[in-house]
Amino acid sequence: MSAVSDDPLVAAEVAPPPPSPWKRALGKARSNPTTMIGALICLLILAGAVLAPWISPYDPADQDIINRLQPPGGDYLLGTDQFGRDILSRLLWGARISLSVSLSAILAAMVIGGAIGMVSGYIGGRFDLFVMQVMDVLLSFPSLILGLIVVALLGPDLVNLIVAIALTAIAPFARIARAPTLALKERAFVEAGRALGYSHTRIIFRHILPNITSEVMVMATLWLATAVRVEASLSFIGLGVKPPTPTWGGMTRDGFENILDAPWLAVFPGIAILLLVLGLNMVGDGLRDATDPKLRNE
């Protein structure tokens, strides 16, 4: 073999391999304080939700009628509601509903919407046009209205709530998956795959999918915040998970009846929603900046 490599790969062999794009993005996100604060908030709420059965001081459904409408402090750290139920315990249990509904809805929307977007963009032509118009129709409904329609039609329960929220998020995921697919399918490696006899399924899932995951994941974090908000709003207007299951939206609504003499009833769940949405947005923004090719110095 007379051919020599054209530049010093030997040097590259001594140096540690450069980190993968994912690692680089994570490293960048880690150096951003806002992202880290957001991540901390999210992790705390997640820990609270997961550990709720062990760390909540009272059973969230236990009624201590004698101590109803207790102000924060004392035996009940965040006070009690009109039935004498412990607010802190209900908040912790409510986080489970909030997180599980939003997470499963966004996961479903990500898988379905992402697949629709990739396949539609890859196939292109009239099919793509048709699919994207359907998505535009979906997109033209505000998420709350669409969620409202679905829950009102199917009836309020946990699964329907997830379906409703997932439905509102499919269209944005389809769009976010389609745009990079359109660019990627023009790249020579997709043609090379076809010349090598790869099936379209293989090209889409083995070669296009790994190249769009970062965009989709960033989108997922941001839409998780929206999902939390929609879930809270639906619970607030009574279309969420039915009482007595504690939900943040439901607690806020219940608190409104006593807003003048016991404002903490509405304030604490409100703060919980605010913190979670804020935390998720901070993480999402940080991840978006970290994976943005325009800001990434390559």
Partner: protein, 323 residues
Amino acid sequence: MSAVLQVEGLRKHFVTKKGFPKPKTVTVRAVEDVSFTIGEGEAFGLVGESGCGKSTVARALLRLIEPDAGRVLYRGEDFRAANGAALKNFRRRMQIVFQDPYSSLDPRQSIGSALMEPMRVHGIAEGAEARRRAGALLEEVGLPPAALERFPHEFSGGQRQRIGIARALTVEPELIIADEPVSALDVSVQAQVLLLMKELRQRRGLAFLFVSHDLSVIRWFCDRVAVMYLGRIVEEGPAGRVLADPMHPYARILRDASPLPDPARRAELPRIIGEIPSAANPPPGCPFHPRCPQAMPVCSTTLPRWTIAPGEGQGGVACHLHG
């Protein structure tokens, strides 16, 4: 010499509708009636200026874009009619090396995975055996086997092109279609990659369809050459004859425009008038007549016939001067 690839009357038109509210149909005649034959182990060059349809020929041959008409025979078998398993089988026999080494590799796939995937898809080798073969291929193209674990962004353009060549070799093809394989590389790297391809050609007995706009590269690499202009082949023949003594006025202008290493032999640069016409609106008659210094009245009305050049195996030309 038996033919590996026979192309007859290949045609590809791109049709687009433009305008609103009354859309007009625009037909770009990218490839029009292209025919040629590549023999076993032969390097066949396809040369022409940008936009003459040479890359479209390369892609249409592999059905990366479906040709509209014509026959593509691989060892006498009709490639265009193949489907499913038969098509997959044909894919093993013909491979392509792309122009842009920066987009020809999947950025999220390690080199090892990129080389082993085709072997798995075609059932050539799996696991440790595939890995061994991938390492051997890398060595064959002049890269250390340690490159298997690495990702495309860790390599230079020339190295990526070597990886692209190695990937094409994973399925043990007989014919490699090289679409401007070195035009995106630095001149020093070009020579190394060309040398590598020439070695592979000799060692493996590969046939090449070499698409390029660079005459000196074609002269060095190819046995036969076809000159394309506006989607048509205007002259074809042995590389030595066509590049030294072209018959078609366009081929002559191309030759004269390419720099010669010997200053004594340098003549005054010929002038070529105007731009290449749009393939959406080709001129009537001979497509080259608006720019041809030797155009005759007949050139603007009648498409020249294909005329066999004098002498055995000297190719042919499509020009009224020789008709």
